[in-house]
Symmetry: C2
Subunit: 502 residues, 2 copies
Amino acid sequence: MANHMTPDEFRRHGHAVVDWIADYWSSLDQRPVLPTDPPGSVAARLPARPPERGEEFDRILADLETVVAPGVTHWQHPGYFGYFPANTSGPSVLGDLVSAGLGVQGMLWSTGPACTEVETVMLDWLAELLDLPDRFRSTGRGGGVIQDSASSATLVAVLVALHRAGGGRWREHGVERRHRIYTSTQGHSSIEKAARIAGLGDEAVRTVEVDPGTLAMDPAALRAAIGADRAAGLVPTAVVATIGTTSTTAVDPVPAIGEICQEYGVWLHVDAAYAGSAAICPELRYTHAGLSYADSYCFDPHKWLLTGFDCDAFWVADRAELIEALSILPEYLRNAATESGAVIDYRDWQVPLGRRFRSLKLWFVLRWYGAEGLRAHVRTGVALADRFAGWVRADERFEVVAPHPFSLVCFRLRAGTGTGDTGDPDGRDADVSGRDADVDRANAELLDRVNGTGRVYLTHTRVDERHTLRLAVGSPYTREEHVAEAWRLITEAATALPVRRS
Amino acid sequence: MANHMTPDEFRRHGHAVVDWIADYWSSLDQRPVLPTDPPGSVAARLPARPPERGEEFDRILADLETVVAPGVTHWQHPGYFGYFPANTSGPSVLGDLVSAGLGVQGMLWSTGPACTEVETVMLDWLAELLDLPDRFRSTGRGGGVIQDSASSATLVAVLVALHRAGGGRWREHGVERRHRIYTSTQGHSSIEKAARIAGLGDEAVRTVEVDPGTLAMDPAALRAAIGADRAAGLVPTAVVATIGTTSTTAVDPVPAIGEICQEYGVWLHVDAAYAGSAAICPELRYTHAGLSYADSYCFDPHKWLLTGFDCDAFWVADRAELIEALSILPEYLRNAATESGAVIDYRDWQVPLGRRFRSLKLWFVLRWYGAEGLRAHVRTGVALADRFAGWVRADERFEVVAPHPFSLVCFRLRAGTGTGDTGDPDGRDADVSGRDADVDRANAELLDRVNGTGRVYLTHTRVDERHTLRLAVGSPYTREEHVAEAWRLITEAATALPVRRS
């Protein structure tokens, strides 16, 4: 007989794990945000071979602190300002725990009616909270589904767009390489990955120029690119517009892009992975103008809406088209409910077959916080980012380098700070590239020093070809004092940077 | 301020959720395996709109029992014999809980060193437990990664195979539709889905004939198909061999298939989604002969190895080729660790970018059970299936219709039982198709009646074009008494079937 954990053992060990997590969250502020061990350190603390005999649970739990924790990048840390937030919350973890305990595999309605229906209703709730167009709701022709990530949502959108553009041949005969996908130069790498996976190749992705000030897609450039491709015998198939680009949270002009898509019959997918959460606040909903043009839309509650990874919410305006693109029905999955046509089988809405009961964590989060609690969380992030941007602007050594409508601020040292250069307002002299490289190095070193304190973590990007720092707010534990500490560490490091003579 | 759940609130509510799960597991045997509510019942119990204000946690938890539970297909029920098992266990749920609490997003080594390194070591541990070829281990040129499902593993294998066969053009220029993928007529629907997603179209999948007795791929037919395609100017690119097909757990002859793949330079992916777990038992490892030919291999610990969905373990023999196929490196993901080449960034091993810390549940399971505990679990499943098959064989009304090397038994009523037909040993008379239809109907009705008891759940497939019942054992709660009850219900239902006169 296998040594299965009894329900009573689970009760005891489960309480201990819950306590461990509560203690972990309470201790986050005392931990360095980033681990400092070199690669291989965690692996070196693990035996090379699995145990032959079962171990006591207390030993396993104890190893979390000694083996695992020193190698964890603490994404939930109040000083974690890297990438985009991927924050969770108590209700999310508990919803996920219920899901793990139920162990439902909801590939079909019949293998998980509750898994399916709670998901449908939660996606309708989210559509309501974000005030998405009615066409995305399950009560009309559209509908929402949870994908693991915005990458997968983009892939699915590209596949349905190919199915539509291929006139029914794509499913059976495969993709024609004449299809082209458009996004801005600031579009996410997942768009190129989707094109590659779908068999179009990287060359099928046209990166459209952006407005240099806002870094948002230039609709005239999009129109020109589509026109040129059509003239060359290529098939413009999908545009991926972004609300809140990864680099700087630029907002593409969806209304203008949508008109062009409509005119040319091109699928419009809107990727609001990070910034979609902002639309729960009426005062930020202007960023979502033009969604009525979209064939599909997604955002990640697992980024800024306190729902643990993975939970991307993806909607299509026409669910029949999506299902037609992806469905395959082998005998062993046939069942009366599916054949009645009265139910949703979410396996046909995604790449994998199996699926977890992910809507539970969303249900728990939406109910625990309520709409007003979620709005308060988003507003806190925006306010803290505003505060931080104000401090940056007030320090002449620094500049804010892009609009910051949400909770991300992009900034950097100006030329002349810590680089041995005294600044050159027009930046046109012959030495400019050398000096840019110096400024880049200074910003990179600044970032290393700030992150090296272990108190905060920021990441970088490039804006105008220049090394730029990013500070993204999102953790439920982040208060003004943490953002202020980040700014203090940044200014101290800037002051301490060695003066370089190029 | 948002109403974030404090660590102390989490502690309290977390204990309550753990208790709820323990009680749920204890009560499984008293619940009907399948819900009986019609479609829409769960949705009807939910408000149409999200709450404006946050709710008490106790109310949310209480709704689990009233709103959700009546709509749950209880995959962990001891009487759940449908599909393949997708079983979890206490240690798996607790490992997953820690993962949710840490909230790590391990797309890069640097965003989760522990997430990455524990995963690498766990996949090496699994390779050791299954005695996989050394070439799959991270200590050589290969390596393992957790995918969400075998479907995604198949897709990734197909993509790398296309990259290899395309000679470097696939990444940039897209797929040529001349590529062909081979699997048996019993291969999983995910192979067709992978071909469709990859832009090859359904027609690119060649379904190779099987041996009528074993339902395993006929290597001669594979060789003929590859030869014919080559002669027609097509490009045989990948073979997906299955160890434990979904329909009947047939085992394709991997040694013979591997030789053919080697001869023709075709990628060999071995899909052991369900049956891979059997290889932890030396006496069942014969089913894994020939893996030294495989370019990639996967199995699902989330099926039969007590690790909650999702957790597919996928290995490649050459990780450099995989990374080359799928990597894209935008500026905002650049970091020193990646550029050192000393670390694994698992985002390049999968379709999505983000990833959870899924190896924790595997670590907890492998340590709690130990190798001997896991072997005991697999052996229990095989023994119970053997017992069941014996009862079927001893009842002349029934037949076992395929080999059952693992824990799935395929069986059905013979002609002449409950169909008004007295049987026809050679089955050659003119009325045979009408009688087959009667027998199919009888088996379908039998299945409905048995499932209608609410005590057990079995699914069906077609074998030799005939309706066939499947009983798959896997739940940690399933004991001999549950399998015996299933058999009693089956025989009672068979006895009660109305006699039809065709």
